[in-house]
Symmetry: C2
Subunit: 154 residues, 2 copies
């Protein structure tokens, strides 16, 4: 617990977190798709090229899961987090293709203490993932609960 750097008070509206970029390989895309989303354009370069996606493309759920990992690496592992009840919306704006490098920008939209639970607050985060051509591929916004530095929750 001594690793905690980010308490509710640290998520000030407008603050931006930028995880390290992440390259996505064709092997990862196919492995994820085989298990969760075996549509042809997620399973082979050839089928991807023949589709409107234009190449071997990651499942949208794979892209979301990568966004989660980037969120974990940059924030969550260091946060006094208390989980998330869901996702407000998810937009898959463009295909994510094998070999793409994704850069995530996570912005704090708002932050408030809960009146009903002293020591606990709710933050809203926006994730924007952009590829190496600067194209926005994923947008999502979700609430995230965190404890205050002073904390009485638990």
């Amino acid at each position: 617990m001594s690793d905690i750097r980010y308490w509710l008070e640290d998520f000030t509206p407008g603050r931006i977190f930028q995880p390290a970029p992440r390259k996505i390989t064709s092997a990862e895309i196919m492995e994820f798709a085989q298990e969760f989303d075996p549509q042809p354009f997620h399973l082979s370069e050839e089928a991807g090229r023949a589709s409107i996606l234009g190449g071997l493309a990651a499942s949208g759920w794979h892209t979301c899961s990568i966004a989660m990992r980037l969120f974990y690496d940059a924030i969550l592992q260091y946060a006094a987090g208390e989980g998330s009840p869901g996702v407000d919306f998810t937009e898959w704006r463009k295909p994510v293709l094998a070999g793409d490098t994704l850069t995530s920008t996570i912005t704090v939209l708002e932050s408030r203490q809960m009146k009903s639970r002293p020591g606990l607050g709710v933050i809203r985060l926006r994730h924007e993932l952009v590829n190496q051509r600067g194209e926005l591929v994923l947008v999502m916004e979700h609430p995230f609960m965190a404890r205050t530095r002073e904390g009485v929750a638990a």
Copy 2:
């Protein structure tokens, strides 16, 4: 393409699809978490029990990905589908624990032809996943594009 059973016209509002139930194992939970969401309660039974989740719990993104697979198995592989631009909302209502059996119910909420793209339409689907105790664990709603049986899109 001769396998297509579900065209736009087949997604009548109120129609329900029910994929086969799916049991989720601790090995799957840990494997997914290791890659995408390595929070302690997704990685060991012990840490899960020590958390408010009450046991080794699946990442919310894992549950979503399983919902995707159930959707694929029951509908998508047989559908004249044209993809989905995103998810309206996702609610993780209860933890999904190792050994749980999830049953998905997918309901057609609405369906309309696109005026701008003859031969193509937009359906809205609601997914509800329930565990073996009848508890709702996941709800999500999203649009899904499909071609009409007569079709001129493409």
